[in-house]
């Protein structure tokens, strides 16, 4: 059913597909930062490069104790600079990197343009942000560290991860009724 199409310019497709395929990008971009379209079609194993990037992230998570419940509690009690230093320096490096990418019009390794999507403000960032913060201090983990905690052998965190998936599903279910 899925056709390989080039976005953002949508080509007219068979009418039966209009309802599903053409809204694909719009639905995916809803409230999600990671939206990316590519006209390139790669074999699935090209995704292995993201495992390597993820593994670097996972190693740093463990080695800098970012997955530690104790470190999060310290952060929220202003008892340690560690997490502020981690997030702050990550943002500074990220900002400089994006500035450089934009300034020199750097392309991907496949020669595609790197695109950015502006985030639109909605009340979800306030209400959802607050709810997320409550959960963050309870579990001592945001979504990334959940995967890392399981990797360190804390298998009970699988329950936390499943519960987070259930939370996401519940949000999707009630989305249209929630204030945005």
């Amino acid at each position: 059913m899925q056709t390989q199409h080039i976005l953002p310019v949508q080509q007219p497709v068979a009418e039966a597909d209009l309802a599903t395929d053409n809204t694909d990008f719009e639905v995916r971009s809803l409230d999600t930062i990671c939206v990316n379209e590519s006209s390139k079609v790669h074999p699935w194993w090209y995704n292995f490069k993201y495992i390597i990037v993820g593994a670097v992230f996972g190693i740093v998570f463990v080695k800098a104790e970012i997955i530690s419940w104790f470190r999060m509690q310290e952060m929220f009690r202003l008892q340690s600079f560690h997490m502020y230093g981690v997030i702050g320096s990550a943002v500074v490096v990220g900002m400089i990197s994006i500035w450089l990418i934009k300034k020199f019009n750097i392309r991907t390794i496949y020669g595609e343009e790197i695109t950015f999507h502006p985030k639109k403000f909605n009340k979800g960032q306030i209400y959802g942000g607050l709810l997320f913060g409550l959960g963050w201090a309870m579990t001592g983990a945001c979504p990334g560290p959940l995967f890392a905690q399981i990797g360190t052998g804390a298998f009970v965190v699988i329950v936390v991860l499943l519960s987070a998936i259930a939370g996401t599903w519940t949000y999707g279910y009630f989305r249209e009724k929630l204030p945005h």
Partner: protein
């Protein structure tokens, strides 16, 4: 070298490496750093239930599952090969506070007294693990991203809604850690 790597890494090493993930993903394939979207893709792939929010082609975002798998793998590597043999060193003020809740096991980065199967079947454990996880999943999607998507990627790209989200993340964390958690811990 290995002994050096086994020590906990300071923030000025960890933070810049995390920051470099932003351009790494962009240059490798125009991918935007973000982890919580994985939870949404998991819903879409497994239980879309005809909900509009989950009607999209998750296979186009499959890279994110590989990224999350990488985090899992990296954590295995770090904990098996580069583990710090010392207990986690935390602020004495925190040691005293969580000690009064009966948490004194620092052998792991997450306290075994909360994160264990036995604890899961207590009221406290259920609230913290299942309730906390639910809020993380619900809140991050409602906010449109988590710490990686908003606080790192969004702020790096100078998006002010991401700053709003980050401030609210911190507000929620401060509220929970200082005002609500003491009650939950005494259950």
């Amino acid at each position: 070298m290995i002994a050096f790597l086994k020590q906990p890494w300071p923030w000025y090493v960890a933070g810049p490496i995390i920051g470099l993930i932003v351009p790494a993903l962009l240059i490798l394939g125009n991918k935007h750093f973000g982890v919580s979207a994985n939870l949404r893709h998991a819903c879409t792939a497994c239980f879309p239930a005809n909900i509009n929010f989950f009607k999209y082609d998750w296979k186009k975002e499959a890279w994110n599952f590989f990224f999350a798998g990488g985090i899992f793998l990296g954590a295995i590597i770090a904990s098996q090969l580069l583990a710090n043999p010392e207990p986690v060193k935390v602020n004495p003020g925190l040691v005293a506070e969580v000690g009064s809740y009966g948490i004194n096991d620092y052998s792991n980065m997450i306290p075994k007294q909360i994160f264990s199967l036995e604890s899961l079947f207590t009221l406290k454990g259920l609230i913290l693990l299942v309730g906390g996880g639910f809020l993380v999943g619900f809140g991050s999607r409602y906010a449109g991203g988590c710490t990686s998507g908003h606080s790192i990627m969004g702020l790096s790209n100078l998006q002010w809604p991401s700053l709003v989200a980050t401030i609210m993340f911190m507000a929620g964390g401060f509220l929970m850690a200082n005002l609500i958690l003491p009650f939950i811990m005494k259950l």
